[in-house]
Amino acid sequence: MGEIDMSNSVQVGAPIDDAVNAARETKFHTRGVQVFYGEKQALFDVDLDVYENEVTALIGPSGCGKSTYLRSLNRMNDTIDICSVKGTIELDGTDIYSNAIDVVHLRARVGMVFQKPNPFPKSIYENIAYGPRIHGIATGKEDIDHIVEESLIKAGLWKEVKDRLEEPGTGLSGGQQQRLCIARAIAVQPEVILMDEPCSALDPIATARIEELIDELRNNFTIVIVTHSMQQAARVSQRTAFFHLGDLVEVGETGKIFTTPKDQRTQDYITGRFG
């Protein structure tokens, strides 16, 4: 028996293509991120990079700050009065909290899908047409029709709803509603999609469909997903970051994190030794 050559070992979790591996650009570069809710500090000095065309998963027990971190990436924390964000968060090299970036434009570049599907109480067509309309991405009816169709196809929903675009979005099943919300987010042609526990309100089949969708989407978008389910993070992401009590404990390649984590806290969390 000679030495074991580990360089070609099988990777657990969604595979990273070699080509992509080599040319990964940094999409989000965050350093020293601290978030306060009034006096209470929720995030302590988080240094994390998110790479382009990759799925990055944020895991951790309840209240560990992963959702808070996610929401600071598209400045949704601005809507909470008592919340203040310190540190550097750069998107493609520009600090998103500086005056150079307009928050409305930022949110068009960085879309968000929420935990509970929240389609507008309008028709399916209008749900998707809203974003492009207000941003002026599409103006004529033909343009908008085209974007609606394209977004629904990309979200894997077109076949199911193409004959009933005028029906209200709220009449779809839970899984379909979530895919509608994803299509809505895609329609604005963002660069990054943030997902806050997108499957936690869905049944296993709907969840599996969305995970498949995420896998397809990462060819064109950068995705950051917060999830409670470690199995989901393991299945869907290429990089995983473990948060605990506001600290970023460990971040690394998903396969390594789930087979040989470096930090004891990470190990204890993923094996279910503490919550």
């Binding site: 009065d81 434009h105 068009a108 968000m112 207000i134 809505r184 604005v188």
Partner: protein, 444 residues
């Protein structure tokens, strides 16, 4: 397992079983008491509803029964001779002459001719008092509109005076002493004679709905007050709705959560509880005395009522805005909508049914307000139907107040009839609010 262990296990099981049985017995025993308490509670509820319903039924039956008579009026059909020598002796057909002619004489002569057995000045006066003042006015209207009728005899249904109308309806009858009555026995006899001749009719009281106020009950109508109410409501709506909705939107969506906002909120909630007459005083002091706006005008009334309704609308609008789930706002914000767009494209349309309901209820309240309007002078005796918001006017509840105050018996029925009209509007508006709410109720 040894015997000892088995016994232990068995006794353990027995203990658990006993505990379970004990618990379920306790539950069984308490069930009776609980059901009894529930039944009592239900009974209280039903009693309360019963009392409320009884009160409403009594209120309505009283009002309707006393108001119904006002919906009919009595007329006397006479062949009126439009004598040229009385109306236009010179034959010029000058409109001024025609307007000022002695139509009283014409109608009186007609009636006297109808009952030639009545002689003597006193008796004749007693007979002609049967005719309402409106009778001569009606003939004047007829002639000035169509002078070609002069010289002809026209069959007209002339209004009867209020006292005789009351006699016809049985309100004035022989039960009281003649000295205390307004219609003497003789007058009653003449009236009966005329009735036997078949020229007395009772019909639907269109005067009530077409005329403005008058000193004569038979000529008094609510149209003036209705128009006044309409103009006032219009001003109130135009002022309070936009201001109220915008204030609610600002407080709910844009205001920072600091001390100042809290103070504003507390004050608005308090304003809703301020007695309405205070707003009247405010209106008097500021709008009429300081700004010099016309008294008794629906414009001022509307402004005063707008101030009064504003807190109601703001509170209702805020509740409607709050009821829009934050997930919709987040979804819109996440897509890159600005805060203004979130409010105008998503939140307001979804909150609109609630806002409208609140507005309608506020308007219904304002419709029934009397005290503040009394303060700004909308209590005057207005005989003309107002044509614009600056004409002096009165409103329905004030009209009711005025008539209720009047000593004339005939106004009693009319007061109740006016109340019925007012109630109809209010019920309609509230029903509209309920229908709107049901129709647009959304399940998120």
């Amino acid at each position: 397992m040894t015997d000892a262990v088995m016994n232990d296990a068995q006794s353990n099981e027995q203990m658990l079983r006993d505990r379970a049985n004990h618990a379920s017995d306790a539950v069984k025993r308490s069930l009776k008491k609980r059901y009894a308490a529930e039944a009592r509670f239900k009974a209280y509820g039903i009693t309360a509803i019963g009392i409320a319903l009884a009160a409403v039924v009594i209120l309505f039956t009283t009002i309707i029964s006393s108001g119904l008579p006002a919906f009919t009026d009595t007329t006397i059909t006479l062949n009126v001779e439009l004598k040229e020598d009385v109306i236009d002796p010179e034959g010029t057909r000058d409109p001024l002459t025609l307007a000022n002619a002695n139509y009283r004489k014409i109608v009186f002569d007609t009636l006297l001719a109808e009952m030639p057995e009545v002689q003597g000045r006193r008796d004749k006066r007693a007979l002609t008092s049967m005719l309402s003042q409106g009778a001569s006015f009606q003939v004047q209207q007829l002639v000035t509109a169509d002078p070609s009728l002069i010289g002809q005899t026209v069959e007209l249904a002339l209004p009867v005076a209020a006292d005789f109308d009351l006699y016809k309806k049985g309100v004035i009858n022989k039960d009281t002493d003649e000295a205390d009555r307004r219609v003497s026995d003789k007058q009653m006899a003449w009236f009966d004679t005329l009735e036997e001749r078949g020229i007395i009719q009772t019909g639907f009281n269109t005067t009530f709905f077409a005329n403005a106020d008058s000193r004569e009950p038979e000529l008094a109508g609510i149209w003036g007050a209705t128009m006044g109410s309409l103009f006032t409501m219009l001003v109130t709506l135009l002022m309070s709705f936009p201001i109220g909705v915008c204030a609610a939107v600002y407080l709910e969506e844009f205001a920072p959560k600091n001390r100042l906002t809290q103070i504003i909120e507390v004050n608005i909630n308090n304003l809703a509880a301020v007695p309405s007459i205070v707003f009247g005083l405010l209106g008097l002091a500021v709008f009429i005395n300081f700004f010099g706006l016309p008294r008794s005008a629906p414009l001022v009334g509307g402004m005063v009522l707008a101030l009064m309704t504003l807190p109601t609308i703001i509170i209702a609008a805020r509740a409607a805005l709050k009821a829009v789930p934050p997930s919709i706002r987040e979804a819109a914000l996440g897509l890159g909508a600005s805060r203004m767009q979130v409010v105008t494209h998503h939140v307001l349309p979804l909150a609109m049914p609630g806002i409208l309901t609140g507005t309608i209820i506020g308007m219904a309240q304002a419709l029934g307000e009397t005290a503040p309007l009394l303060m700004i002078g909308m209590v005057a005796f207005i005989v003309d139907i107002p044509g614009s918001v600056t004409d002096p006017a009165t409103v329905l509840p004030v009209q009711v107040f005025l008539w209720a105050d009047s000593p004339e018996r005939a106004f009693v029925a009319r007061t109740s009839a006016a109340i019925m009209v007012l109630l109809t509007f209010l019920i309609f508006m509230n029903a509209l609010a309920v229908v709107l709410r049901k129709k647009f109720e959304r399940r998120w």
